[in-house]
Amino acid sequence: MENKHTIYIHVIPHNDRWVVRGESYKKVTSVHDTQRTAIDVARKIAQSVNGELVIHARDGRIRERDSYSHDPQPPKSPREVLYPTSGSKTSKQEIRKAIREVIKENKDRFLGGS
């Protein structure tokens, strides 16, 4: 596979309108009244260059991405569950044991048994 950098095509808010711009391009490619038309144009460009469409929200943060790159995607992983910083007065082992029992005893009643 040819080793080349991904081309990113951004849809960005600008003065109450939406612009389409490639990441390495100095000028905007096009300006649109609605985000929808900007996305349609940007998507076609991203598809034609096997790049990546990057849609920004009104506040500038990235809202959505769609990749049309041939590059292999990294494997998806489930999120890590984070525990609270302040501890329960009941021991962690006791809570875990009780939850496992509840799941085992009620596996047909709710998702716990799936």
Partner: protein, 210 residues
Amino acid sequence: MPKISVDFSKNIFINCPFDGNYIYLFNAIVFTVHDIGFRPRCALEASNAGQFRLNKILDIISECKYSIHDISRTELDAITGLPRFNMPLELGLDLGCKRFGTSQQLEKVSLILDIEPFRYQKFISDISGQDVFAHRGEEKKVVEIVRNWLSLELDPRTIIMPGGDMIFQRYKAFQMALPILCEKLNWITNELPFADFSYAAATWINENPF
């Protein structure tokens, strides 16, 4: 100044009423935050001996990249005839931390919840421009709002993230399991401290991968 938490980018400060009339929404938010892989923080965390409440809140705010503020409680107190200002105060502290804090704290992101859309413009119009969403007092709606808001912060190419409907179904299942769990642990279901509820939710989620 409090030390920045190593989990800054995973901590979410929840600023909302803690009374019995709001607990159903608070619990739904806590569960959703856990199910997406973040850590809920709030003023109900066990405090250090002698620590003033406001100092504790300031510490938590400084350690959280994300914050969820519910400003829906605007009604006047039946006895005093006065509104409660704690939630707007803590929202202001959080926005101030983002504005005047460290370079890391400049990245803070806030979600503001109210019960009706655009109502906030009548009593706290200065927050226009922030992410303000209406949950209409519904658990399912608040789950969807929090999930969709946090989804912007995760890379969908690398993280498997459940949809709002799936999280809500998982939360309903957890709610069904909770009274049985409380019975086993000699907990009182309707009087669970935040630490117990949060730890039980996180453990249940860990034992029930989607």
